[in-house]
């Protein structure tokens, strides 16, 4: 399941629904990304995420398909917020289910690396100092590169 939504994400309810979807899986891994309160300069008052439909959805769907090819997943869900939010809000929820817990961990990790560096979103932070567009950090690209290195190794 994939959803890009401007509504608050209820991770508890999503995890419950996901478990019902994959009762035979043995292992479920989730990642919840929360909007942080600290900016490089000052405190975050709000965060704005801009998406570009349908590129955003198409790209995430491709990454989910890649994950399903690389790991034996029984189910996979991504819910991503767009629009205005405040610190503490959930930006993204990723869930993977597999009979093999290693596969569930790796697939969730891979999908988060995709989302951080390749998903079609632009992020703007508002602090007391004003508005700043935030782009991925070098370590986000390093994390994402792990999966390509593995492919060629």
């Amino acid at each position: 399941m994939l959803s890009v939504t401007d509504q608050p994400i209820n991770t508890g309810a999503l995890l419950k629904a996901f478990e019902a979807e994959a009762p035979n899986s043995g292992g479920i891994v989730t990642f919840s990304g929360l909007a942080r309160p600290e900016a490089a300069q000052g405190r975050v008052k709000s965060l704005f995420l801009q998406a570009y439909t349908p590129m955003t959805e198409n790209g995430i769907r491709d990454a989910m398909d890649t994950a399903k090819t690389r790991w034996p997943l029984e189910a996979c869900t991504i819910v991503h917020r767009e629009g205005e939010m405040v610190p503490g809000d959930t930006i993204v929820f990723v869930a993977t289910a597999s009979k093999h817990r290693r596969a569930a961990f790796e697939a969730a990790d891979f999908l988060m690396d995709y989302l951080k560096t390749k998903a079609v979103f632009w992020k703007k932070e508002t602090t007391d100092m004003g508005e700043t567009w935030i782009e991925p950090r070098p370590e986000d690209y390093d994390d994402a590169d792990r999966w390509t290195e593995q492919e060629t190794a």
């Binding site: 570009y52 349908p54 991503h80 951080k116 998903a119 632009w122 703007k124 986000d140």
Partner: protein, 82 residues
Amino acid sequence: MATLLYFGRLSDVTGMPSEEVQLPKEICTARDLRLWLDQRFEASGRLLEPTVRIAVNSEISFDADPVRNGDEIAFMPPVGGG
């Protein structure tokens, strides 16, 4: 008319998130469009950066790819969600 979309920090450069523009005849490729717009917005090369990608009708395009009136053309600085 072409629809031009300026995403992320580029909307600060252009002063608008999108516009409808009649592409002049001499604008044939994505590269032509970049150069024309960078000049038009006095963007000092910020629309020419290789990290700014172009999507034509929701497909990533390269500098030699054609652009036409009727297209939706997006200027996309580095992306990242989560």
